[in-house]
């Protein structure tokens, strides 16, 4: 008889993890051999248990899934890690795959899809949830053949953008810093908006956060274990 595929779950959302574990228990081909509720203990368990598959939550309070993935793969390059995220973003997917994960699922997937992903990854393939691949293939960026929309901006436009999204400055302030007229700065602003298909500074900020051009603020963790 074929041995079941052993799985380690690393996720700090205990309630949903417990339910997921119960569902996986119905599948005799899969055996959950461990659970960790933060990245650090996940790294230790991965070393102790050497599971076939690691299901990894991306957004965890203490150590996020991305750095935990890198740390596990540095110790055990053969580990098969499937990332599981509540909020899909394209840069996140790219970073996770670049870090060496073999699969990517969102929490919108069904239990059946988790099983499919585990089977595919065990067969040596990569698995990215169809909901995301479809969206990726149809996104305007993919159609333009670039995964960074900011690459179409000129050097000056990028500079102006930097002052808007990183320094939170208004046109007048930017004009003073760059020793240009406010009118010129606004011409740049509207050209940036046009090129990126957005309408205002805030939409520019959201796009910049999304692509890691500006760092989104991180809320300090409040409820400690």
């Amino acid at each position: 008889m074929k041995l079941p595929t052993t799985v380690l779950i690393i996720d700090d959302h205990q309630i949903t993890t417990a339910g997921m574990k119960m569902m996986l228990a119905n599948n005799t081909a899969i055996q959950v051999i461990g659970e960790a509720t933060d990245g650090e203990s996940g790294i230790i368990l991965a070393q102790q248990l050497t599971p076939d598959i690691i299901l990894m939550d991306i957004k965890m309070d203490k150590k996020d899934g991305l750095s935990t993935t890198s740390a596990i793969l540095a110790n055990q390059p053969q580990s098969r890690i499937i990332g599981l995220t509540a909020h899909h973003t394209e840069p996140l997917l790219i970073q996770l795959i670049q870090a060496g994960a073999r699969g990517y699922l969102t929490k919108s997937c069904s239990m059946q899809e988790i099983t499919t992903a585990i089977e595919n990854v065990m067969a040596g393939e990569r698995y990215i949830t169809p909901a995301v691949t479809q969206q990726l293939a149809l996104s305007p960026l993919a159609l333009r053949g670039s995964n960074n929309p900011f690459s179409i901006l000129s050097r000056q436009e990028r500079q102006v953008m930097h002052y808007i999204v990183v320094k939170c400055q208004k046109a007048q302030q930017i004009a003073q810093t760059l020793q240009l007229s406010s009118k010129t700065i606004n011409t740049y602003r509207y050209r940036i908006f046009d090129k990126l298909g957005i309408r205002n500074d805030i939409e520019l900020l959201h796009l910049a956060w999304h692509y890691g051009i500006a760092t989104p603020p991180i809320m300090p963790t409040t409820a400690e274990e």
Binding site: M22, Q95, I213, P216, P217, I218, M219
Partner: protein, 226 residues
């Protein structure tokens, strides 16, 4: 014989719905009568189902919670609404309880805590997990407004701050909240002054930091060097 507690689970994320449903198989006095998505038509099903407890699982911002909560309360005013959040929050649990939620806990708790919460709200009590409760209490004692800048705002101000921080134009926001554009501009001016901010971009940063708006999940240190 004890009566069965009829439970409905609502989330736009299938895996989370299924997980919670599976977890609630065990307690004999609980039965999950529906797990439904957040579509309008799905939510309207609640009227026929009349669950005793409705578990609202979401991942999103306070405003979305608030709107969903009001919508559910309109459809099934008698259901006990339990919020099962994915993130730790500090300012908003008490606001959601005031707005009509019967209980609030996060997915970081143990399954037993969820059962306790369901039993408490079924018994007509309000429930706040001990961890969240102590945080709420500490925040109330903390008089430094810098630590929770949004807590002094009214619901209307909070809603407008949310739309501004999401890039809504004056005209758009005016339409959404049924106010005139000039009133929205007044709100903007007052909000920035009260929060001591220079402009709406700074407001967006603050709103993201305090979970008022959705944030892309990107770890720090990825900035482009310009």
């Amino acid at each position: 014989m004890t009566t069965m507690t009829k439970i409905a689970i609502i989330s736009h994320q299938t895996l989370l719905r299924q997980s919670v449903k599976t977890l609630l198989h065990n307690p004999p006095e609980m039965t999950v009568i529906a797990e439904i998505s957040t579509d309008q038509s799905a939510i309207r099903e609640l009227e026929t189902l009349q669950p005793d407890v409705t578990i609202l699982l979401n991942d999103s911002t306070y405003i979305k919670w608030f709107q969903r909560l009001q919508q559910i309360m309109r459809i099934v005013p008698n259901t006990r609404l339990l919020i099962l959040a994915a993130q730790h929050e500090t300012v908003f649990p008490s606001r959601l309880l005031k707005a009509g939620a019967a209980g609030y806990l996060t997915q970081h708790h143990s399954p037993e805590e969820l059962m306790n919460a369901i039993r408490a709200v079924t018994a007509g009590k309000q429930y706040l997990s001990p961890k969240v409760a102590s945080q709420v209490m500490l925040d109330n004692l903390d008089k430094d407004p810098a630590n929770h800048p949004f807590s002094s705002l009214s619901d209307r101000e909070l809603e407008i701050a949310y739309h501004l921080a999401n890039g809504g134009s004056t005209e758009e926001i005016a339409k959404i909240v049924y106010l005139s554009p000039s009133t929205i501009n007044c709100y903007r001016y007052r909000l920035l002054k009260r929060l001591k901010l220079e402009n709406t971009t700074a407001l967006a940063y603050l709103a993201a930091k305090h979970h008022l708006i959705d944030l892309p999940c990107i770890p720090p240190g990825q900035e482009d060097s310009l």
